[in-house]
Symmetry: C2
Subunit: 343 residues, 2 copies
């Protein structure tokens, strides 16, 4: 069936009214919200056809219509007018990000917090993966008689550390050896190089020093693998509690999903193309079959580096939130790119 201009307007009005009020919208209420005048009967006929087309649905016979997932999809793709971010919002966002502008680790924490605060939904951000980063330096600092901390700094300004324990007393000299050997061998290499196999072969090549260094090597391997893992920042999960279109069990399912960082980051990073909206089943995650995800990849130096997203009920103000996320992800990308360019 064709989607006439009038149907499009009616669909848009239904979606917008429903998003605003949360109540199923009836033919009468809808009449008052159209920019042309027709009787409620006409609207009823149109709505009934929209329902047939699978764009609207009725909670029960004598209720108004509610957009179903396909309806939202059409609305977002072809009907919605994007509301640009206001100057105030821009200023607000910028002011939230500025304090951590020089630290990529903290920056993405800040992004998640800002996003959660602005949208009142659950917000996620992934840190720019270690995949592209090189090892800049490896530091060792003694923390007690037999323990020390290995710290890897990367070219992207990320830093990770791990405390490790040796079966012999450490001395500044030993630490210097750790430092010298490992920086000699690893500095400048991509983090991804440091695999268990690589460390193994490195250990083998050390001759009589192998024993001395094995704990340090394991620690460095650990840190490197930590660095390789995409880290996700989560904020505002409890915002979900305040939306009463999410039922108790619905909330639980979302929270369950949010508590699995690998799956979460996979969902976000398999998206592409900048801004994307996943409505309910489009997420292909049973836990999210009644919620929506708005995700935007951010680019660092022209390459997709990470993603930021919000998760909330299907009924949300897409226009506003999409523009917010888009602006935010642009800002983050720009900031990170600048950091990189400053090298």
């Amino acid at each position: 069936m064709e989607l006439s201009e009038r149907k499009r307007k009616i669909l848009a009005a239904v979606v917008e009214l429903y998003i605003e009020t949360g109540e199923p919208v009836g033919s009468k209420a809808l009449c008052d919200n159209l920019d042309f005048t027709v009787s409620s009967a006409t609207v009823r006929n149109e709505m009934s056809e929209l329902a047939e087309m699978g764009l609207l649905e009725q909670p029960h016979t004598s209720a108004g219509r509610v957009p179903c997932q396909k309806g939202y999809r059409v609305y977002i793709d072809t009907l919605m007018k994007k509301r640009p971010v206001t100057k105030e919002e821009q200023r607000y966002i910028d002011s939230l990000l500025l304090p951590s502008a020089y630290d990529p680790e903290k920056l993405l924490d800040g992004v998640a917090r800002a996003l959660a605060g602005m949208t009142k939904y659950a917000a996620v951000s992934t840190k720019p993966g270690g995949s592209g980063a090189d090892i800049r330096a490896i530091q060792f600092v003694q923390t007690s008689r037999r323990t020390a901390m290995a710290i890897i700094m990367t070219s992207t300004g990320t830093m990770k550390s791990r405390v490790f324990h040796c079966d012999f007393d450490l001395t500044p000299d030993i630490l210097r050896v750790f430092f010298r050997v490992l920086n000699e061998k690893l500095a400048g290499l991509p983090v991804a190089t440091v695999t268990p196999a690589y460390i193994q072969s490195l250990a083998a090549s050390l001759g009589e020093m192998t024993m001395l260094m094995s704990d340090a090597l394991m620690a460095v391997l650990d840190v490197a693998q930590d660095l390789m893992q995409t880290e996700v920042c989560l904020d505002g999960e409890m915002n979900l509690l305040y939306h009463n279109d999410l039922g108790q069990s619905e909330i639980r399912r979302i929270m369950d999903f949010l508590s699995r960082p690998q799956e979460l980051s996979r969902l976000l990073l398999q998206q592409t193309n900048g801004l994307k909206v996943l409505i309910g089943k489009e997420t292909h995650r049973p836990e999210l079959s009644e919620s929506s995800v708005i995700v935007s990849r951010y680019n660092v130096a022209g390459r997709e580096a990470g993603a930021i997203a919000i998760i909330g009920p299907t009924r949300m103000n897409y226009g506003k939130i999409m523009s917010n996320i888009e602006y935010l992800s642009g800002s983050v990308g720009r900031m990170l790119t600048e950091l990189l360019d400053m090298e």
Copy 2:
């Protein structure tokens, strides 16, 4: 009124049965759970007196009795038999903590996670405060042309960092100056020494280097203040969603409280004396007036260093949880003390 032996037994039985089932307990059901035989009428009389004394209450006229907060208090103080941790539980706890045994930062994350996993309530732990720690060393690592990272290591094995930006290009030589000057001035001092005033005076004493170092100084100050702040680790907040004696709004209030780390840590750290149970209003926090907090201070080298706690509904299995927390806090204290002794 006196609390006769029989009343004590009845109170204990009511509390235990209620904790187990979650249903108000009636006189008849109670008869079957007493280690002596009396008629339900007798029990009724006793219960009615316990109610008068403010230890039990009735949700409504024709319902059984439910312990009220004072009732729980008496139960915990004088009636409850502590259930010692089983060997299995010990092994389980130990296995959870061992991986991060050498890293105080991660250890307390692990504790919160373990506690949340075992108890199915929301768990909190505070990291051993920087108050007692000395600065062991300050490292500087360049992260881009004009940014660098300042890292402070403390005597307790804690490490914090901050990226900062300078208005001039950094060189290895400049970083070496940062390193030399700041370690000379600050290494060995208690972290608490590094106040804004102290940094100010330090800056003043640097003569012509003041300009060069001001960004680095501010970063170090920032890190030091970060270190001084008690950090709290939170885990298992969403466990609360699964307890149906907590209503929607109740959960929200608790979550609200949990999201304010300063208040949370204050509540925990103002407790003393090892293990403590705060029932409802005893917390003196309106948000927690219907929940209980079980908190245990842990000692490092004989001094109260931090605290671990769980927060959940008033109706919880105090016996089991108290012994778990006690064991856990003992373990943590021991581990941290060992770390310290290894210096």
